[in-house]
């Protein structure tokens, strides 16, 4: 049976939770759909079970009131639910507990958050090599920590945060390798105004670095040529000038928006040169190129959890206007303080983006033998050759090489492939474009498809 709602929000992270709670307050009939069993997204994952003295720290606990407000609201919250197809008219197809459900929404808000930028180094497919965020997720959701010699490598605030959290959780890392180009520090410091705006964030960053040092974790700066080495699993981490025996290598080179669903919906996307990622083109309210679809949170460009809450609220206000619940004057009046807070949050970004700009070698691996597509095991060299043979964009590379055709549907290799093509053709990444993902966004069984009722297919008998 098809349920009709006014607003469907995809993703129960900070943006989705905040948007849902405000939309409900404004009287909108709101559904919140999320893959996880409990609200929080990645940043506030398992927040409802967090102990007050959690090794994850005070910033993590900031997610608690958001989850509590969601629970106290009338929002129709669907946990453990995967969106596997969305059409531009607002029909959503879901899989939950082995069943298929569908609903139609007058308005859709995508709050799909971010994912960690792929870090294609030699050996990154070896068991024992994970993202830093992955280790943090395991710590958040089950209090498990990696055992043995743990090396963190990359750059960005999360790398230091995870190192400090692991140390506090009784799993002190053996080393932290910083791969960020040293010139980033100079670039970040250039406009003094930017530095002033970023002072709170920079102080937080410095505190995080100090915590890692205090914990006795050796920090090595300017690491180049990072490699994961081992036969059946990670055995050593090597770099230009040394190597270290290791059981786990946790990689992190910042986060990028998760744009999979927006790309499938063919929303207009733009290349963000400062953050080195694709993001949907949106206005100040999160409105995309389709009239009934908006984006909030890091899925619209990386600004962090506090900003995500604010963009979620702005999108909820705009949805209420769009659905005729409030007038433009009320929307603007209520949005004014939110917008001002958002400006303060975002003031830190330009400096932070310059500081955390990944090294060229992270974006385009020099070594042809490195795996670009983890699913189909396609190497960087294969993609490079296909580009030189005439494949002009990611979708042609897919046809040439199977790159991007595996179960992750190009979520991981997308940024790598686009950068390799750009380099091979001597064009900016902005001109290369993206995959065109298609449904199902997540694997579903034939049984789940068969579960759809004829009525789910709209008046013309088609989606």
């Amino acid at each position: 049976m098809t349920v009709a709602v006014e607003l469907a929000i995809i993703g129960a992270g900070p943006a989705g939770m905040a948007a849902a709670v405000l939309a409900d307050e404004l009287g909108l009939d709101t559904v919140l759909i999320d893959e996880q069993g409990t609200p929080g997204g990645q940043i506030y994952r398992a927040i409802e079970r967090a102990a007050p003295d959690t090794p994850l720290g005070a910033d993590y606990l900031a997610g608690r009131p958001l989850a509590a407000a969601l629970r106290a609201s009338r929002v129709d919250y669907w946990p453990n639910t995967v969106l596997w197809h969305a059409d531009p008219e607002g029909a959503l197809f879901l899989a939950t507990a082995g069943r298929t459900a569908s609903l139609t929404a007058r308005r859709i808000l995508l709050a799909t958050g971010a994912l960690e930028r792929p870090v294609p180094i030699p050996g990154w497919t070896l068991p024992g090599v994970m993202t830093a965020g992955a280790a943090q997720i395991v710590l958040k959701s089950s209090g498990l920590v990696p055992e043995g010699r743990v090396v963190l490598a990359g750059q960005g605030p999360l790398l230091y945060l995870v190192a400090a959290q692991l140390a506090r959780a009784g799993a002190r890392p053996a080393a932290l390798f910083e791969t960020g180009p040293l010139e980033n520090y100079l670039a970040a410091a250039r406009p003094v105004a930017g530095l002033w705006a970023a002072r709170r964030m920079l102080l937080k960053g410095l505190a995080s670095i100090a915590a890692v040092k205090r914990a006795g974790v050796p920090i090595r700066r300017g690491v180049r040529g990072l490699r994961a080495v081992g036969r059946r699993r990670l055995e050593r981490v090597a770099w230009e000038g040394g190597e270290l025996a290791a059981d786990y290598l946790l990689l992190h080179e910042g986060v990028i928006p998760n744009v999979q669903i927006g790309l499938a919906l063919q929303l207009r996307h733009e290349w963000d040169e400062a953050q080195m990622c694709w993001r949907p083109a949106v206005d100040a309210w999160g409105q995309t190129s389709l009239p009934n679809i908006a984006v909030a949170g890091d899925g619209g460009g990386i600004s962090g959890a506090a900003a995500a809450v604010l963009t979620g609220r702005l999108a909820a206000l705009d949805a209420a206007l769009w659905l005729g619940r409030i007038g433009a004057a009320e929307r603007d009046r209520r949005a004014a303080p939110i917008g001002a807070a958002l400006d303060r949050e975002r003031a830190v970004r330009p400096a932070l983006d310059r500081l955390c700009r990944p090294a060229r070698s992270v974006i385009v691996p020099a070594d042809d033998d490195v795996i670009a597509c983890r699913c189909e095991e396609v190497s960087v060299g294969t993609v490079r050759r296909a580009a030189r043979l005439g494949a002009q964009g990611p979708n042609q590379i897919k046809a040439f090489t199977r790159c991007g055709m595996g179960p992750c549907q190009g979520r991981i290799c997308g940024p790598v492939v686009a950068a390799i093509i750009a380099e091979a053709l001597g064009k900016p990444i902005a001109e290369i474009g993206t995959w065109r993902p298609r449904a199902p966004f997540a694997p579903i069984t034939v049984g789940a498809l068969a579960d759809l009722e004829a009525a789910d297919f709209g008046p013309r008998g088609e989606t």
Partner: protein
């Protein structure tokens, strides 16, 4: 392998990883249970027949595909453990197994 942090949530759920009973805290994903059971890899890839472990733990990379309660190719990082859950590593491409879902 992964182990419980000191003073963390205690082991509460018994699952079977490759037929061996492992106790893990509530809220643990099936992928994390495999790591807690001491296995480095969770699957063997269909293309190169190479060992793979979970990479992103957030439902993006699909490198944690495993067989859960008889159903192949499940995204094990997205599935919370239940008592008695049977988790087996995914060996290359799945075979058609009628009735297992």
């Amino acid at each position: 392998m992964f182990r419980p942090r000191p003073e963390g949530p205690g082991p509460a759920v018994a699952v079977l990883v490759e037929g061996r009973t492992v106790m893990v805290p509530a809220g643990t994903s099936a992928a994390a249970a495999v790591l807690a059971a001491g296995f480095d890899s969770i699957r063997e890839t269909p293309v190169g027949e190479r060992e793979r472990g979970p990479y992103c733990m957030m439902g993006v990379c699909f490198d944690c595909l495993a067989e859960i309660d008889g159903a192949a190719n499940r995204q094990s990082c997205m599935i919370e453990v239940r008592p008695g859950m049977r988790i087996n590593r995914q060996q290359r491409a799945r075979t058609i197994n009628p009735g297992a879902g």
